[in-house]
């Protein structure tokens, strides 16, 4: 049987791994599909490529489909998130000048305490803090807004969070346009290796269970091609399961390092996959459990509550009606489609489509189809809780 080709756009990042692995390790072929992987130059271009049908599915920042549904930024076609591709995986870095001031103040660069790192950062800033993120609608931006506001630095009034495409982040830092950045790997490690900056904190220290990238499709395509989409979801889910095995991670860094994907040395890509980040020029290493997750704790499941949290954050900042935003956002993450595609596989799916975000200090067993599902730690650094049933 000849495989059906599905075109999938991606941005060359470590967390594009589930798509690359699905194709390279034969999980796509098992479903009788062939993924034509197309790298995109920017998130806005990738979103437009998806909207206008140049690709059928895409690796996407989790807030983009939500923002599109809320009419923020190039509102093209309606998009749906049918799987979460990865949880966590971002890093916050600072310029060398700022790192020096942090060291002088006695900050230990422990890389695990968002409260301590944030307070130190605010204390070390000279004037208004300027931070670069890859895109206005990104978990990077959401985490920064959440973190700094909780520490008493209300954004956007007291901090400038601006979009700087990661390939230009080094230039922006050198030109003195930004003091810090929040980016996905390998950009953080690259900044360290090129001597541009030092790493202060992993995103997971702010929210330990943040949906980072999703598998996005056009909502009308999801309706028309439901069988094909089911095959795509299963292939990517199996790739995620394979990635969840610690033994797979070294091979993955080799796959990702190929010229057609990230075209970077595999030892740099390994750091994020293994959760062993080099944070400064002296080669200091920090170990982060769950730095990026592809499978554990039902990581692939697109929870309605995750989309609602994103929708509420965007609404608060952009001055939109909160009830409307929450409702519209909730409909973007399609747990129903995800479950339908995985019915009949060994996937142990949660019984609910929403959960309380935050407030889970330790892994916990929850109701699921086979009864073996354990959700990982899910906590915001300040202990707040987002309860989708409450208001």
């Amino acid at each position: 049987m000849r495989a059906v080709t599905v075109s999938v756009g991606f941005i060359p990042l470590v967390d594009a791994a589930p798509l690359i692995v699905a194709q390279e390790m034969g999980f796509a072929a098992e479903e009788g599909i062939n993924l034509a992987l197309k790298p995109a130059p920017s998130w806005s271009s990738l979103r437009d490529m998806l909207s206008f049908g140049q690709v059928e599915a895409a690796h996407m920042l989790s807030p983009i489909p939500v923002a599109t549904a809320l009419g923020l930024g190039g509102a093209g076609a309606k998009l749906s998130a049918v799987s979460v591709l990865s949880v966590n995986g971002n890093v916050i870095g600072v310029s060398n000048a700022l790192a020096a001031r942090l060291h002088d103040q006695g900050h230990d660069f422990g890389f695990n305490d968002a409260y301590k790192a944030g307070t130190a950062l605010i204390g070390a800033a000279k004037g208004r803090l300027r931070i670069g993120v890859p895109f206005p609608f990104s978990m990077h931006a959401e985490l920064l807004y959440y973190w700094l506001s909780a520490l008493g630095l209300p954004a956007p009034q007291s901090v400038d969070i601006h979009t700087v495409p990661p390939p230009l982040m080094a230039d922006a830092m050198e030109a003195g346009d930004i003091d810090a950045f929040c980016v996905g790997e390998p950009w953080g490690s690259q900044a360290v290796d090129t001597g541009v900056g030092q790493l202060l904190l992993p995103g997971s220290a702010i929210w330990s269970c943040a949906p980072e990238k999703v598998l996005a499709v056009r909502s009308d395509w999801a309706e028309q091609e439901s069988a094909l989409m089911g095959r795509l979801i299963r292939a990517v889910w199996r790739a995620g399961r394979w990635l969840g095995e610690p033994d797979s991670r070294m091979l993955t860094s080799e796959l990702l390092s190929r010229p057609e994907y990230l075209d970077l040395p595999s030892d740099m890509l390994e750091r994020a996959l293994m959760g062993r980040l080099v944070i400064g020029p002296a080669g200091e290493e920090r170990h982060v459990d769950g730095f990026v997750e592809f499978f554990k704790g039902a990581a692939t499941f697109p929870w309605r509550s995750q989309a609602e949290w994103i929708g509420m954050q965007l609404a608060t900042r952009m001055g939109l009606d909160q009830a409307m935003a929450r409702n519209v956002a909730g409909g973007v993450f399609r747990s129903d489609i995800h479950c339908q595609a995985l019915a009949g596989t060994t996937a142990d799916l949660p019984g609910a489509s929403s959960k309380v975000e935050g407030g889970l200090e330790a892994p916990m067993a929850v109701a699921s189809e086979a009864g073996h599902l354990i959700l990982g730690q899910n906590r915001f650094f300040d202990g707040r809780v987002f309860d989708p049933k409450g208001d």
């Binding site: 130059p41 806005s44 206008f52 930024g73 190039g74 093209g76 601006h162 030109a175």
Partner: protein
């Protein structure tokens, strides 16, 4: 008669920028400004306050433009992405040709269309040139490898050039591979054994 529309073209390549400007001038009377340095792009654009911004889709700085679509202050002029509000055909053509346009809110579409048409035509040509250049480069590289492989065979087996090429071609046909790939394999192997 309204003032001529102001257009910013974001393009780091000077020749390309000039070609875009030339075709826009043919389409009408516009006030055109080129940004060649993308650091601080948002600031540069805000300072000029243009009606329209044209930027190559391949340019990663496009994501910076997205931020300007969010400008919400009373004095800010919101910038909308062109694909938001045009007929789908023209937007799709623009995306296909590799140009994205950001247009200030409230600008009438019949004033925008000639600009977009000119830009699309020009970008289509760039895209063809880009493909051609990549293909030519590849062909040249392959030719170089084939020449090296031929030279190796001529020395190793004491045969003539035509015979060496015939040998490469036959091997390629037997293995169902391209001549360039067989030549590359030979050159790589020879490099390892040297």
């Amino acid at each position: 008669m309204s003032a001529p529309l102001s257009i910013i073209v974001v393009e780091t390549d000077r020749t390309r920028a000039q070609l875009i400007v030339d075709s826009l001038r043919q389409a009408g009377d516009f006030d055109i400004y080129i940004i060649a340095e993308v650091t601080g792009l948002a600031r540069q654009i805000q300072a000029r306050n243009p009606d329209i911004v044209l930027i190559d889709i391949e340019n990663p700085s496009r994501d910076t433009m997205e931020e300007l679509t969010l400008a919400s202050g009373p004095l800010d002029r919101p910038v909308a992405m062109f694909v938001d509000r045009s007929d789908e055909g023209l937007s799709a053509a623009a995306i296909e040709a590799g140009v994205s346009a950001y247009i200030v809110d409230g600008l009438h579409s019949n004033r925008v269309k000639p600009i977009l048409d000119a830009a699309i035509a020009r970008f289509r040509m760039f895209q063809r040139m880009r493909t051609e250049l990549a293909e030519t480069k590849k062909a040249l590289e392959e030719r170089k490898v084939i020449d090296r492989a031929k030279g190796m065979l001529m020395r190793a087996k004491g045969i003539g050039e035509d015979e060496a090429y015939a040998l490469l071609r036959k091997t390629a046909m037997d293995q169902g591979r391209r001549v360039a790939d067989v030549a590359q394999a030979l050159v790589t192997a020879a490099g390892l054994l040297a």
